[in-house]
Subunit: 452 residues, 2 copies
């Protein structure tokens, strides 16, 4: 489709392009625009869109492409888009733009829009205030179902959703919610006060978006009202924005666990310098902390080598396995906490479970390691250093390392949470460093004590 | 709340419990039931629920608790629940139950329900068929908006949603969709054929749930129709189920990246033996592959030590940093592919980006490592082994390791995808093993060549 449209643009057959676009869904058009290489084509295609579709398509574009387009728009076109965008989309857009574009955009906007946008821009990032939208339908508690339907027909055009309706009193205080289904299925001319649900779950403007995502997935909501301190409804958060939040938060956790400073930019649109900036701090910190294992080895190495170089050769295997065992435990615990399946109150259950699981895992791995060293490295490859007693010590330390790694792996994220730190940040790489150092000291001390 | 209710149960004040429950939301009641320790209280509380609420609460319980409850229910109570549950929830429930409970449940069900459930049970896991529900509202294309509203009032009670309506012809072929908003806001007595949207995105019964989640988040849908080969609508997937899918798929990726076989069970409900079973295969495989680094070290160690033991002491640091650098790249690429931001067609862009980023990262880390070894380890701690030329070789190998790690880290997931393997499975631990071995050989060969 993209190819076809590009060819038509090159042939200057704008009429065919226009009629093709008319039948397409906004996200698909946005996809095509994102994949156009030349900015002039991009602006051209955007201008060919039917006017009522252009704002919707605009809301699906990445902020880089939005900026590309708006620099070519005159202030009339720009203010049309600002007025037509849902408030939350307009705010998302303006937040990413340089100051001159924001000025240009707000200059053409109506007073009301400008005030609204300025208010929304003042909410902190990642809070309910920042992701909510004021385009909801509110109904007066004293109306009948018939009056409510008429009111929906009046307010509905501009509303983001009419699936959930908000019932308020004369002071705009939120009294209850109604789904459109409940309203349509209620008996004729019932009063809203009789049929509303007054047990309403609400968010406050400063509530964290991750917390809101948890509410949505617990209650299967399509929209959640946001209220101020006087319980007046100021906006709603809708489920489509929550899907973005859930994906964003998971991506952030993935990045943190891989020791990357999180960004919201798509990978292909991130510059090499930004990638460097996001990755270097943690990599540097971890490299420096890893050099301490070097210090430990420096202290014990001569004594280990004096017994057998085979003992030194096993160090990376023990440390790798410890790292893997630790990150299994930490990722499990971090994810379970993120999904709300686990709270720090359950810490003793987690530790008890991990003690038993790690004992089993350590035993299994120890036995296999013992057999592998003795049979393959000693008998087949003929490394004379692997005597029975040495293989036993190596395997025993491996087993203990697994147990230590699991315990560090499960407790550290819970401790972080307890200290109001982000559990994902302390995950794999940090745990690896701690486990590495502990395992190494244990190994050196035990091996020298038993074998020297 | 949980405490209060438990006390009332112990006091046998069932009337107060009942009235408390009446005003609560189903997910909150499910929460309380999940946290009750004794099975008898659990069944008691469930029986105290108002009948119309009991099926809804039931759908929010974990399958362990569901099983606990249904073993105490008589077949009348059980078949009531089966009839009241949405088909997708009933199927989810039955899939997890042992055969005797499934038999008991289906025995009391109506013929129609039994047929429907059996059909749904036959769809493969994680496909549209397995997560869809047949409770949707279909409207005839020849009706007017007024007739449609009457039809909604008829079908609506049992429908999972009336927010999206499906317009079909006499053969049940899907002709278009309408939102309830479009229907309510259309002019009176318009024909559905005039106002429907005929550009409909559909799923087929065997479409993967991950693909469906991508569609939902691309188009901001609330529901997606599932059609058979003749384009007849057989069910719908709703957004609340998709939120579960998105979270489930992210959890699976977290687990795979941490070398754990994925499960759907909450951590606290997983037995120690299951944890062992999910973790041991990968841990074992990785341990055995890590012993190969031991073999490499065995070959070169004597020569390295002969130059200086300081060279051996740096091995863990180089390998750790390589592992961290590799997993930064792999996690970024895997996540970007999972979010659809990146396809394998972009492979050359990814490699080119990583080459430049890793060169910068390697250079920075190399310089810092050089300074750190020389200043701290040599001057402050007085390890004589760290001469300038040795520090230079160590830092140079570190820089190259970072570059190799990044390249392996970004290409391996794309290669996996190309070979229709799961990119998440080849992530961190595997990459670590490959990078470890490559870096170690490079280090030993270079160090011996330059320094011996």
């Amino acid at each position: 489709m993209s190819q076809e449209i590009l060819e038509l643009i090159n042939k200057k057959d704008f009429k065919s392009v226009k009629s093709l676009l008319q039948d397409m869904l906004a996200p698909d058009i946005a996809d095509i625009i994102e994949h156009l290489e030349e900015t002039t084509n991009l602006v051209l295609l955007f201008r060919l869109l039917p006017k009522d579709l252009s704002a919707e398509v605009f809301s699906y574009l990445t902020s880089e492409t939005q900026e590309n387009i708006v620099t070519f728009l005159n202030s009339n076109e720009l203010s049309y888009i600002i007025e037509e965008l849902a408030t939350d989309d307009a705010v998302d857009f303006l937040e990413e733009m340089p100051a001159n574009i924001v000025r240009k955009a707000l200059k053409g906007a109506t007073n009301e829009t400008r005030k609204l946008i300025n208010k929304y821009l003042s909410y902190e990032d990642d809070t309910a205030g920042a992701i909510m939208t004021p385009e909801f339908v509110s109904l007066n508690i004293d109306s009948t179902t018939e009056e409510a339907l008429d009111e929906i027909r009046r307010q509905g055009e501009d509303a983001e959703t009419i699936n959930v309706l908000y019932v308020v009193d004369d002071k705009k205080t939120l009294k209850g919610v109604l789904t459109i289904k409940e309203l349509l299925l209620a008996k004729k001319n019932a009063l809203l006060s009789e049929i509303l649900n007054d047990n309403v779950v609400v968010a406050t403007t400063n509530m964290d978006q991750e917390k809101i995502a948890t509410i949505f997935s617990k209650y299967d909501f399509l929209a959640l009202p946001v209220v101020d301190k006087e319980n007046r409804i100021v906006g709603i958060v809708t489920v489509d924005d929550i899907i973005d939040v859930i994906k964003e938060e998971a991506t952030e956790d993935f990045e943190k666990m891989a020791a990357i400073t999180p960004t919201n930019k798509p990978y292909l649109k991130t510059s090499v310098f930004s990638i460097w900036k996001n990755r270097i701090p943690w990599l540097m910190l971890l490299m420096i902390s890893a050099t301490f294992t070097g210090l430990i080895l420096n202290v014990y190495q001569d004594k280990l080598s004096a017994i057998s170089t085979a003992l030194v050769a096993c160090v990376p295997m023990i440390m790798d396995t410890g790292g893997n065992a630790g990150s299994q435990a930490s990722v499990t615990v971090i994810r379970a906490m993120a999904l709300g399946e686990l709270t720090i109150k359950d810490w003793y259950k987690v530790i008890w479970k991990e003690i038993r699981a790690s004992a089993l895992l350590g035993l299994t791995l120890g036995i296999v390691c013992f057999g592998k060293l003795l049979l393959i490295d000693h008998l087949i490859f003929g490394f004379e250093g692997y005597t029975v007693i040495r293989c036993f010590v190596i395997s025993m330390v491996l087993a203990f390392t697994v147990i230590i790694a699991k315990l560090v792996g499960c407790t550290l994220p819970m401790l972080a949470k307890k200290c109001h730190l982000d559990p994902a940040v302390v995950a794999s790489p940090f745990i690896t460093t701690i486990v590495d150092a502990t395992a190494l000291i244990l190994y050196c001390v035990l091996a020298i004590a038993i074998l020297a």
